[in-house]
Symmetry: C3
Subunit: 364 residues, 3 copies
């Protein structure tokens, strides 16, 4: 416990934890103050995500690679998953899908680009494991194709369409999860020697004792779940106050808030010239969301949601995911980076953000 | 002749030749039993394709590389060509196009993916000639763009459109055949040293004497033509019995039946760690179909068909070809493979197959 | 002055300068003879472009890399810029956009392809700086995505749409120019050692004295501007005489005329096995147009044009730019070329040209 407190004292990011009780107080006192609730919940999610990320890494460090990989898969994107589950239960499938697509695009363009830029400003040229980047890019490419498939059914007449798309979505979800599992088998078991340097991924800080890590994991997950519910309820109303379109909020704001902790880790690794870790977090997190979180949400919607959710995204979202994936694949092909490569990735993200920002609310 | 009989005795696949007379008997006795005719003709085409493939290789081994290359071009995909010609004469252009697009997608995704998977399960990492793979991928990419071009004309008003699309299709067909010829000149003549290891492509089995090979070639071609006619006539009716959509039959069933023999060769080569041959068969066959078989069919439709056939494919087919080509290009770029690369390719094929399987018949 | 005359005597291309006064005479005497004016202005632009290109290189050779790079950016595509400005003032935004998109496609496919082919017919295999080619391809890819973005807004209702697209276009234009500037900083300053061999780009001929170069620059720019105005006025009318569609004229004819001088340099460099220079001219010129000329025209349209111009291209143009950019990226990835690589690029260009040639005028 003193370890946890020590950690909080030394990490300014964690001072934001003070906003966690503030959110709950505000929600009790002013349930209609959406803008206030939105700002407070964003400020509270960031440190919780950081704690969650560190606790997960500590558990993974103890359990070894195989189980650690599985834990990373299920827990690494826990914030995104919990936010999405809150939206799923509320039946806000538009928000769920926007946050999935937004997270994939933010990870492959913003997180990777900013890592290359920040790392490149300090180090002239940086090298990383291109085999690992290729496998992740391949997984992402596959997921994008899967999300493209349901739109091939657009010409089907409306009554038959819904049933067909739901059948297809379940099939795609199972295929994606299976591929994700086989990908872990490949990189953690049969061909682990090609993914070597990713192993020291958790060598950055001294891991916590397993008991503390598990307790933190449990406690923080509950807190994230509660705060996320406030976030999901307030975000769309607050967006109107700021004059933001729902598309911009779902795609950009939610994605950046949900990925805040991972971004902090990726940027810090890039500054230390540990690009394997940086690229691994960015692309690994994106492929986790695409091949694990998204399909699991589709399957869970049959249990938790008011109606089944499909895997059909609107055309602009699929285009953005396709461009982001293709860009990441082309850029990481060489296994080397410099600051300008980061600029190129960030510019693609800026183009997307500008377009979504200007999109009038109605058309969405 | 005894050599031919010996070959048949030692290859269990060729026992299926017994189904060839069965097809003709069934067609005489039960011309309306479409399902039976379909099953029998599939079972009869597979061994005939295998014989044809081996006879072609034997002739190619005798005539040297340059003529052998030309022979491979004209005869390698003879099964596909004969099936397509049967459909062409019947005016079933939908089936012709579906079988062309389906063969390209099946070769670049299923044949290549299954080769990588089967080879990778036995060998840890496999290497192959990346220059050769690149040229084939480049040819395929070009052909896909050519098939994309006519859809740029969709906004033209209907009356002028047909004439324009036919003119464009003839121009594209000539350009593709010319490029295919130049590609053979490049890989067999001017830069053959870069395509080295493909040369021992026919070193697998002892070639037949030229006389036997030519006789087999002539005889089997006639048989394939006769059986294919039964296949084309029965396939759509049989599909209804099995509850399959026409799109699924044309794209998946016909493509897998037509490519059965080549697949057997490609898989066997992959198990023997001869990936150059494997990749050469998969991508080489795909580019043959795209740059030689398809354009030749367009030109032949002016002579044989009830009306000229154009090179315009429906959007979903072009998308699939584009994705398949791009995937193959990205995947073969490194010149190395492992089992998981095969899984990725097969998963893309599975996504396509699932989508086509669920597509309601009407919408096609 | 005698140096200029000597240059003219030794370069048969420059004998075409005799057509410059012919254009002005013809315009005075026969202002309605569009076909004559079109032919004369094409013949006059070619040698002027050649002079301009050489004068620019001479100035760049004197001022050093950093300023030289900026000069190349602003002056290298001066012919294209002046032609586009003439069309911009006339409010012919369709022609401006067609010439931008056409120049990008012509440079990445025709100029690069013909360089590979002509160089490859003389030299077996040619190598060039792949880092440089990658950065250029990356810039082009970014620009293509920027031009794709406004089409994401198509579903917005018409009244709001124009305003949104203009805001977005200005934002995109600023982002592209900034990226172009950062790209120059990267290749000329911080990582210049990776772009080494491009430095002897102006080592081909002895540069002119700076005074002559600057005077030529000023004088020829005025002449190009005057001739371009005649060209822009006559091209569409002349096209009707030749039975050419406006799309074909804007995309193919204007692009080839505008790039004539650079093509001459690129082809001559390829024959001398200086592929770094060849690839640098082709891709560098394309990225200049995409990331500098096009955005500058958008911004200038607020000052010079009858109405602001946006960055929205029609779908077929964006598709062609996307295919051209992707093809160039895939092809230059290896840093090696042979004649057949040139054939592939030229065939893609031929497919585009055929499609545009057959497109009926109305549908455009």
């Amino acid at each position: 416990m003193s370890l946890l407190l020590k950690k909080i004292r030394h990490n300014p990011l964690l001072w934001l934890l003070a906003f966690v009780p503030a959110v709950f107080a505000a929600e009790k006192l002013e349930p209609e103050a959406y803008t206030l609730l939105f700002v407070l919940s964003v400020l509270a999610i960031v440190p919780l995500a950081a704690l969650l990320s560190h606790a997960t890494e500590s558990v993974a460090a103890k359990t070894g690679d195989a189980v650690g990989g599985l834990l990373n898969a299920t827990l690494g994107n826990l914030t995104e998953l919990v936010i999405a589950l809150a939206a799923l239960r509320a039946g806000e499938y538009m928000l769920v899908k926007a946050s999935i697509a937004g997270a994939i695009v933010a990870n492959t363009l913003f997180m990777l680009g900013a890592s290359f830029l920040l790392g490149g400003l300090k180090h002239h040229v940086q090298e990383y494991n291109r085999v690992s980047a290729r496998v992740q890019a391949g997984l992402l490419f596959l997921a994008t194709i899967a999300m493209l498939a349901p739109s091939a059914l657009t010409e089907v007449d409306a009554t038959a369409k819904a049933a067909v798309i739901h059948k297809l979505s379940v099939g795609l979800a199972v295929a994606l999860i299976a591929t994700y599992g086989l990908g872990m088998l490949f990189s953690l078991r049969t061909h682990r020697e090609f993914f070597g340097s990713v192993e020291h991924a958790d060598a950055g800080e001294k891991p916590w004792p397993i008991g503390l890590a598990l307790a933190t994991l449990a406690g923080v997950t509950v807190l994230v779940a509660l705060v996320s519910e406030v976030f999901v309820e307030s975000v769309q109303e607050a967006a109107k106050t700021f004059g933001l379109t729902p598309a911009f909020v779902g795609f950009i704001v939610v994605a950046l808030v949900g990925g805040a902790a991972e971004m902090a880790s990726a940027f810090s690794a890039a500054r230390k010239d540990r690009m394997d870790l940086s690229v691994g977090i960015a692309l690994g997190s994106a492929s986790q969301i695409a091949l694990f979180v998204a399909p699991v949400l589709v399957l869970l919607s049959y249990v938790l949601g008011p109606a089944p959710m499909d895997l059909q995204f609107w055309p602009a979202a699929v285009s953005m995911m396709l461009v982001a994936t293709l860009t990441a694949a082309l850029v990481t092909n060489s296994g080397r980076s410099a600051w300008f490569v980061g600029v190129l990735l960030l510019m693609v993200y800026l183009i997307f953000a500008m377009t979504l920002y200007l999109l009038p609310p109605r058309s969405q």
